[in-house]
Amino acid sequence: MIYKSLLITRPFYDNPTSYLYHWSEAFVDAARKKGVKVIDLKSDKAIASEVEGRLKKINPDLVVINGHGSQRELYGQNDQVLISLGKNEKLLTSKIVFARSCSSAKLLGKKCVKNGTICYIGYDEDFIFVFDINCINNPLKDKTAKLFLGPSNQIIHSLLKGNLTGQANEKSKKMFMKNIIHLLNSQTTKNNTEIVTYLLWDMNHQVCLGDKNAKI
């Protein structure tokens, strides 16, 4: 039997990374339940040497990078560069990648696909999310953040279910739209229009580059 494998980075050192860290827990658990071998590089393990070593040794089918990013780089714990355009993006060759970070699909993702990454799902602009200030210490209870992180989590849940990369991206976007419609129909629409603005932004800037018919 061939076991599928998932490498995930989830740094934890500020509010945004704290949210991504906690909200990744659900698909880490789901992957394990499905018998997927999970390499969970969290907090101080989300550093370049660990990521490079595991990518070379394990050669995972799916790579999920959480954290800050830019058009050219993906970052780990304390903003340490994990993947950098022109330096080590070939580490992602022959893999399906989801980068939940700002802007990396704009340049880095395109170069990765050109260099042999099967599919790169990410954001070609800032990934923005709104959260409830009262939930900072308990991100999983944050219903506002769920509106953003639920749809992005959907990508991994879909891939784990055997969906194609393009389908996973579309299902995620449908979930964004469902949340937008829910907010527009709610009785507190006035307060929610700003949240709708950012949901629409993330939905429109989530891109699926490369093979849309691939699966893990």
Partner: protein, 79 residues
């Protein structure tokens, strides 16, 4: 974009931000900073990098309103 159009847009963005709940924060940009409503309004007024980004996000939203016929259809479908 002319200066006066940008200033008008900034004012519109500030008005829109002002209706947001005070108990919400926004994660934007790769600095790790998060912003409250008042801090975002301040960034827009200052014309900082984050302020410019917020104006860009709002403009894209407003431009997307012309597609809202499609969204209306989806809303009707879901009701």
């Amino acid at each position: 974009m002319t200066k006066s159009f940008y200033e008008d847009t900034k004012q519109l963005v500030i008005e829109r931000l002002s209706v947001m709940s005070s108990n919400k924060g926004i994660s934007i940009g790769n600095s790790g900073n998060t912003y409250t409503k008042d801090q975002l309004i301040d960034e827009v007024e200052k014309g900082s990098v984050i302020g410019h980004k917020i104006v860009q996000v709002e403009l894209e939203f407003l431009q997307s309103l012309k597609d809202f016929k499609n969204y209306d259809l989806q809303i009707a479908t879901h009701n």
